[in-house]
Structures are given as structure tokens and as C-alpha cells.
Symmetry: C2
Subunit: 209 residues, 2 copies
Amino acid sequence: MIKRRDPYHHGDLRRALVNAATELARSHGPDDVILREVARRVGVSASAAYRHFADRDALLAAVASRARAAMAEAMIDAVARRPPIGDPRSDAVARFRVIGRAYIAFALEEPGLFRTAFGAWPALTEPGDLSPSTMLIAALDNLVATGAMSSSRRVGAEGAAWAAVHGISILLADGALGQVDSRGRDAVVDRTLDLVVSGLVRHRFIGTG
Amino acid sequence: MIKRRDPYHHGDLRRALVNAATELARSHGPDDVILREVARRVGVSASAAYRHFADRDALLAAVASRARAAMAEAMIDAVARRPPIGDPRSDAVARFRVIGRAYIAFALEEPGLFRTAFGAWPALTEPGDLSPSTMLIAALDNLVATGAMSSSRRVGAEGAAWAAVHGISILLADGALGQVDSRGRDAVVDRTLDLVVSGLVRHRFIGTG
DNA sequence: CGTCGAATGTGAGCGGTGTCAACATTGGCC
DNA sequence: GGCCAATGTTGACACCGCTCACATTCGACG
């Protein structure tokens, strides 16, 4: 089915708008998403966007939702690329590190999307959709399930672990730690993950990777 | 010396602008700082602001600088209100906790200023002025100086510790951890500080407070 | 003390933005 | 085939950041 030139109805304008808005958000962050520019790029009038989004914030919320999903998928891919081998408890620890590293890596590779993903928009979080924090929590539960972490240490660990991973992501993405090369960045990331792991995991299962 | 009514020259317009802008930033964050509104509140034309700031971002940078200073002072006050008593190493640990808690408390009491303080404006950080991260670093150095932390663990600890404290501040301020009452908030904060302390400090000096 | 330049403030205006209301077009359902 | 709801357009409003030409005042220097 061939599309006509400039049909009055776009077909899937909502998705197209989110696509364009996402592209704008990539440059630096949510502030770069200009509704009129989004419409312009899609080749549609600015007010057409209001048929699909209540206002600019609703559009941002949609972009944020998609960004969180992309981030979670990147984290899933990261664990998939590192199949478990060896002791399940050490594997659980390694997997947690991989998840955390993927979280941070996404923030550094796509800072604009990262900032948009965690903007304080109306939540718009479907119960079923996967989010970066959910991935982290799953990794924590896996630590308990395998016995790498005692269940007593599990309580409240979501917040603390997420805070450390999220915090280092922001500090690095915003350059708050000063200019560091990629080696220095890796060192800081590893040090942060070390801190979290050493605080959560039984010491004999702490690996170095 | 009595001020005349509506003098043509304001006298200290720059400071007045920063004051008004700070007040606006308090509501939610830097996005609430509207240059025209700032000038309106000061009772001056909008273009007058451009005699003192190159653009809106420069004004934001000034507000951010002041916000960081206020935050650092709040942290200093917090340690001052809790004078050291007892073993110097345990005291160093307690002081670190107090500093971290004060950091987080400021973020929760003044989320707008907190968000403004760490916006990615042109740094505008004088070499001498005190900043929240400097306070944290000083507390870390104090841990080493008293012997509560081994110097080997000190390397790279700034980033990790700051990340955890900063991260939990943001997550709580943005409500990313879901709605939690003040008890739950305290628990999350304590858990995060536990994580940091347990990862940094020699175990026999870890207190519970 | 007078003058004159630099500093500081004013007003109008430009291009851009989010948002809305009135109108145009179209797809799908009876 | 006709009609209604969904979807898109045009034009407008209020507001914003920023600039330019002009007005006022302060302070230094004769």
C-alpha cells in the first residue's frame, strides 16, 4: 500500500511526533524539545499535536516513557551478552554489576534521553512496562535468590543501590566530577559499583569484575 | 541615608535580581526563573537585567552559585550543632553521616534550589567558595585523618560517596521512589548512608547513628 | 563648581514559543 | 451514499528572551 503525497491524515502521527521529539531530546535534554519544531519536522501544523497530547508535558512524558524502555532494553541486552558461567552466586554479583554498568553507560551515551527519562513529568508508568529501576531491583532479588546477599540486607537496598547508580550517572553526565577521560570514568564507575556491592553482598562472593 | 522613591538607579540591582530569581527558583526549579518576572518583581524593566547578566543562563548561574553556598552552610551548621564527643574515629564517622544527611535534607527542604544548584550552567565556581561536594570530601579526608578509613579505600571515594548522597537526594526530591512518608524517607536515607559508610569505613568504627 | 563620559535604566520591537478556537478534510459505520 | 467523529489547518493571543536606540544619573577631572 503506497502512501499518497501529503495526505491530510498522517496515519500514525502520534508515533511520528514521539519519534521527532525523541530526536530533539537526544541533543541535550527535555528543554530542547520544542513542540512547534517537532511538528515542523513531521511536516504537520503545531496544533495538530494537540489532537494526541494534552500539552507539551504530555509529549515529554511519552518520550520519557520510551526512553526508560530503551534504557531497560539496553540493560537487558548487556546481561544477555554476558551469559552466566560458574558459581551462581558470583554470577549474580557479576550480573548486578553488568546491569549497573549498563545503566550508567546509557546515561553517558544518551545523556539527553537519560535526563528526559527521569524528568518529573506525570508518571505515565504502565504497570507492565519495564523500567531501569525494575532491572536493578530484579538484579538485587537475584542476589538474594542465589544466596549472594542476605535477605536482611535486602530491605531498603533498592533505594540505596539505585541512588548510587543514578547519582554517578548524573554526576558524570553533567560533568560535575570535572573532566575525566574514559579511563577515569571507568574507574569512578567501578569504584561506585564496588561500594554498592561491598555493602550488599556477602564478602566471599564479591568478584573483581 | 534614606532612599528616595523610585530612584532611577536601583543601587544594588544585581543582588536584588539574584534574590528575586532565587525566590522563583525555590518553587520547583530553574525552569521557573523567568527573566521578565524577575525584573517585574524588582520593579525594573526587563532589559535592565542585561546590564548585569549576559543572559538568563548567567543569572541562573549566579542563583546556582548562591544555592550551593547556602547548601554548604546548612551542612556546616549541621556539624556545628552536633559537637564531637568520644572516640575521634567514631566521631569522624558520625560527622560524615551528619554531613550526608544535611546534604539530603537540603535537597528535600529546598528542591527547587537544589535542582538549580546542580544545573549544568557555566561553572562559575570561584576557587575559594565552599560547595556541598567540598564538604563531603572534607568529611572523607577526616575519616582518613582519624584512621576510621584506610587511605587505600580513600581513592576514588569522593565520586562514589557523592554519587550515593546526590542520587538519593534526587530520587527522593523527584518522588521517583514512590510516595513515602517521612519515616520511610528517613529509613531510605539511613540505608543509603549505611551502604556508603560500610563500604568505606573500617568495620569496628561503624556506629549506628 | 561645572561638564562630560561611563554606568545604569527605559521602551519599543523582533522572532520565537505554547496554547486555543474556529474551520476544513477525511475515514468508517449505518 | 450520507453523516459523525476523528484528525488536521489557519490564525490569533499572550508571553518569553534578547537587542537597540534613547534617557538618566553618578563620579571623576578640569
